[in-house]
């Protein structure tokens, strides 16, 4: 199949399995300078929410 369209797929990947869109994403990531940074931010948010669930449990325990 601009940055807005690439980042839309980066976000969509958090909530659904992309059809082998995955290839297009890889190709466009390699060509776009800003998109990999956005991708790292989305990954950070994923880790943050995971950490938050743990933090909520820790707070519950403590």
């Amino acid at each position: 199949p601009n940055c807005k369209e690439v980042t839309a797929l980066v976000i969509a990947r958090e909530d659904r399995d992309l059809p082998w869109e995955r290839a297009a994403l890889r190709v466009h990531m390699a060509m776009c300078q800003a998109c990999p940074r956005f991708e790292r931010q989305v990954l950070t948010m994923r880790n943050a929410m995971k950490q938050w669930r743990g933090y909520a449990d820790d707070e519950a325990d403590g």
């Binding site: 940074r37 931010q41 950070t44 948010m45 950490q51 938050w52 909520a56 707070e59 519950a60």
Partner: protein, 193 residues
């Protein structure tokens, strides 16, 4: 007999002490004070009705949160219609799109480098900012986002529970994640040295 009574009273007191903590999470997920109060009450009643089910296998609050999550899903299911409507801009383009991207679809401003996020994620202040940003999401986006991230439901489960189309769900989650990113950038990463 008296010992049993004292043990139960102590258990009941600990359950009562968890009220504020449980209410915080119920509010964050349900975005409705009445529903939140109801699910917390139901959680406490369920806990007090079967104290033997606790059995000390985990921390009491962790066990209570487990019950709360089930009650929250029940509430979302029974208020299904109201859960998925309410944001005034639901059917229109999200103004955030205009702020984040130019008309040609390229970034207004290139995404910032977020430094060493692993270190940030260990910080209580970061968690407080993350919680505040989640709390600031519009009601529908916030509910759906936390169903994914706190209740850990799959997209398919959410669509089934709330009779949502997958397209509608993905649009709302997309907006929620964009907003969360914007909020974290503004209130945490931009202010870090």
């Amino acid at each position: 007999m008296n010992d049993t009574r004292m043990v139960f009273d102590d258990f009941a007191q600990q359950v009562a002490d968890a009220h504020g903590y449980l209410l915080k999470f119920a509010r964050l997920q349900l975005r409705n004070e009445t529903w939140a109060e109801d699910v917390v009450s139901e959680t406490m009643v369920a806990a007090l009705a079967k104290p033997q089910a606790f059995g000390g296998r985990s921390q009491l609050r962790t066990w209570l949160v487990g019950i709360l999550k089930h009650k929250v899903v029940d509430a979302l299911r029974s208020h299904q219609r109201e859960v998925t409507v309410g944001d005034s801009d639901d059917d229109n383009a999200d103004p955030l799109d205009d702020m984040a991207f130019k008309p040609d679809g390229h970034f207004q401003e290139r995404p910032a480098e977020w430094g060493n996020p692993q270190q940030d994620l260990q910080s209580r202040q970061f968690m407080a900012v993350l919680e505040a940003c989640t709390d600031k999401l519009p009601a529908v986006q916030g509910r759906l986002f936390l169903m994914r991230e706190w209740l850990e439901m799959s997209s398919e489960e959410i669509c089934k529970e709330l009779q949502l189309t997958s397209t509608n769900l993905y649009v709302q989650l997309h907006r929620a994640r964009l907003r969360l990113r914007e909020c974290l950038e503004l209130h945490w990463f931009a202010s870090q040295p």
